[in-house]
Amino acid sequence: MEITFKINGKEAKPDIDPAMPLLWVVRDELNLKATKFGCGAALCGACTLHIDGEAYRSCSIPVSFAAGKEVTTLEGLSESEDNLHPVQQAWMEENVPQCGYCQPGFMMAAAGLLAKNPNPTDEDIKNSISNICRCGTQPRILKAIKRAAQIKQTVTV
């Protein structure tokens, strides 16, 4: 069955089983590999992307849910590689990734949080982002999200 939605600003019409998790559609049908598989049970957050601006764990959402909506993955977070999203800029500045595998999910979760709460405290971040990093980058993620908030405010002002 053909499911139509927008992904990173472009229209997609994959002809697939509507029950297929959005994660596999994005990765394998649309060949956008930034969104990762971690647990398959919406527990770890490696597969976080945005649907209509809201952060979702795509491993546990059927693609039919995205029909008619706008999906954004890390590939579509910034306008171009020369003009990075504040979260990506902050991630570079704070030297965040180690193995890097969970980072796309974290960055999408962070971008989702900042859209709602432009100036989150450590507590806000800990309460709203429950993604998992096995390398132990969490302290730098906290710093980077706060730095991203600053960058974002500077840019908007």
Partner: protein
């Protein structure tokens, strides 16, 4: 290696490749001429102390530096970038001697087809340790070769040539590394040049950013699971959810094959070690998973294991014992005065690595060659193991190493790569296989649990006269060695699981003994290997001894490290630095005697 005995079968000529490239300073030839001696000596010195996970047939690291047309230098790393930043560290080291900014070095993974291999693999915290000097020697040699060539062309003495940012100048002459590198085919490697003193380092010892930030922050497809080939199929492998479970019967294969998108259900009896291989191959991952869910497997479960039974198997006094340290006669001293003996026991639990990217690989098998994309700590071993299951020579297998989404020691196990290669051979198309998270935990190669018994005789004056450490642990590497070598000859895994079991402190009578016993699950290496449980047990015991004798735990250790041996000196320095850094912090409880957390690695202490 097999290649050396059967030169006719060798598919690849390093020399030929070197000639084919623009100018590749393919580490092998240039570097071995220049740095073979030092590299060999350096590696040999440390080999005895490295807790390497592999059987080493060739300890010589090979290097591949290539000067690109844009005058960047490409370094093909034989070490896996699995988190630790080895790409960045190696680039920093090379940049020091190449006289180029860090950004001018691009590091990629070496594939095995180029002939750059490193049998040591990536593990045991050895990468920077073993390459710290050799990579600079090779880089310096390369720089000097380029300078010598420029000097020849410009007819000036080599000392008149200045290098900055990969550009050589002398008077009015100016040329990039790349320009000089393409100006001749006749190269002579000089004697290994003297290395820059550490005081002149521009990067080493400084806080620099990782060189792989960009692809990681942009979400580039750098991991094994991201690899995609034309016409690629996806497979999910049936794995036993029970310990020791073997497949008794399989139902619903036909129904699974009928699911939309499923291409084939593969069933191979006795694939390896009498275990069957069952996999659902489909056009997409979702269909493969649906197919797997449809299969009804009945498992033969020899025994339903309980935690307590595992612990009983891993207990001091059970299994094969191997004495790994023996000085004086600690046992008889302890026996003589039982009331002066202080004894404590410690346990560490079994654990799974739980890296974020599950184990898996992408394989393409053609008639006479195979390519496997996989984040592996041991590409040489993978190659050999994969070759066996698809009936090829290991030279026909090319391992394209990818970034790994965490590893922690888990990526030396080649089972998934062997299976995906066999599946790809059967279906005749590239195949993508990755564990589900459930499989990742249920079918893991576990970090062994350990049991430690430490006993010490404390004299009436409060001095430690004798100490014994007994460590019971399943192995981390014996299972990867041939049975007659591993379990029979070595007896216990003192190389890996027992690393750090010996007592470093100057106590006149001391011993360490390992008790080896197999568990019904596969155990394997885990970051820091035996150093982790052994340090935990020994240093906890030292803290308790200090508490018991009313001593300051730091001072007690420093007293026990008197002596002029380098290792003692280094250990003391570590402790003193720790005390200095900890000054002003407020330990939670002065009474507990546990305010001195330590992770010591005898290896590092011995070698730098």
């Amino acid at each position: 290696m097999a290649t050396e005995n059967t030169p006719t079968k060798k598919k690849f000529s390093r020399r030929k490749f070197l000639q084919r490239g623009a100018i590749v300073f393919g580490g092998t030839i240039v570097a071995t001429i220049a740095a073979k001696g030092p590299i060999r000596r350096f590696v040999a010195q440390i080999a005895e102390n490295t807790d390497t996970p592999l059987l080493i047939s060739n300890l010589e690291p090979t290097f591949w530096f290539e000067i690109m047309p844009d005058n960047t230098i490409q370094y093909k790393s034989t070490k896996l970038e699995m988190r630790q930043g080895v790409f960045t560290g190696l680039a920093m080291l090379a940049a020091e001697e190449l006289e180029i900014p860090l950004e001018q070095i691009k590091v990629v993974h070496a594939n095995t087809a180029n002939g750059v291999e490193d049998a040591l693999g990536t593990g045991g915290s050895n990468s920077t340790l073993t390459l710290y000097k050799p990579i600079r020697e090779v880089a310096a040699t390369m720089r000097e070769m380029l300078k010598a060539q420029a000097a020849k062309q410009w007819n000036v003495p080599i000392t008149a040539i200045k290098v900055e940012n990969g550009v050589m100048t002398s008077g009015n002459h100016k040329a990039t590394y790349y320009e000089i590198s393409t100006s001749t085919k006749e190269w002579k490697a000089p004697e290994t040049p003297a290395l820059k003193p550490t005081s002149a380092f521009k990067y080493v010892g400084k806080n620099v950013k990782r060189i792989d930030l960009q692809p990681k922050v942009m979400g580039k497809p750098i991991f094994g699971i991201d690899q995609s080939l034309p016409d690629m199929l996806y497979a999910v492998i049936l794995q036993s959810p029970y310990i020791g479970g073997t497949l008794k019967s399989l139902k619903n294969s036909k129904e699974a094959a009928k699911i939309s998108g499923v291409v084939q259900v593969i069933e191979i009896k006795d694939f390896v070690e009498k275990a069957d291989l069952v996999a659902v191959v489909a056009k997409n991952r979702y269909a493969a998973e649906m197919g797997l869910q449809k299969l009804e497997a009945v498992w033969d479960i020899p025994k339903k294991w309980q935690q307590a039974e595992f612990e009983a198997l891993t207990t001091v006094g059970v299994g094969t014992d191997v004495r790994i340290q023996s000085e004086g006669s600690p046992e008889s001293i302890l026996e003589e005065s039982p009331d002066l003996v202080f004894k404590q026991e410690y346990r560490t639990p079994l654990a799974t690595h739980a890296h974020m990217e599950p184990n898996g690989a992408v394989a393409q098998v053609e008639k006479d060659k195979a390519t496997v994309f996989v984040g592996t700590q041991a590409s040489t071993m993978f190659r050999g193991n994969i070759a066996k299951v698809i009936d090829m020579e290991s030279e026909q297998i090319n391992i394209e190493t990818t970034f790994a989404g965490g590893s922690f020691g888990r990526r030396v196990d080649s089972k998934h790569a062997e299976k995906v290669a066999r599946i790809a051979q059967i279906v005749g198309k590239p195949v993508h296989v990755f564990n589900t998270r459930q499989q990742e935990f249920q079918n893991a190669v576990y970090r062994p649990q350990t049991h430690h018994v430490l006993s010490a005789k404390i004299s009436k004056e409060g001095n430690i006269e004798a100490i014994t450490h007994n460590q019971a642990t399943p192995d981390q590497i014996l299972g990867m060695l041939p049975a007659n070598l591993g379990y029979t000859l070595l007896g216990a895994d003192f190389v890996s699981a027992g690393h750090g079991a010996s007592i470093l402190y100057n106590i006149e009578h001391k011993s360490a003994t390992m008790w080896q016993n197999k568990l019904p699950v596969q155990t394997g290496i885990w970051r820091a290997v035996g150093m982790f449980p052994n340090t935990f047990a020994i240093e906890s015991f030292m803290n308790e001894l200090a508490h018991k004798t009313g001593k300051d735990p730091l001072k007690m250790r420093l007293d026990l490290l008197s002596g002029n041996e380098q290792i003692n000196q280094r250990y003391k320095k570590v402790l003193e630095t720790l005390a200095e850094k900890a000054a002003g912090t407020n330990p939670k409880s002065q009474e507990s005697g546990a305010e001195l957390p330590l992770v010591t690695t005898a290896k590092v202490l011995r070698q730098r």
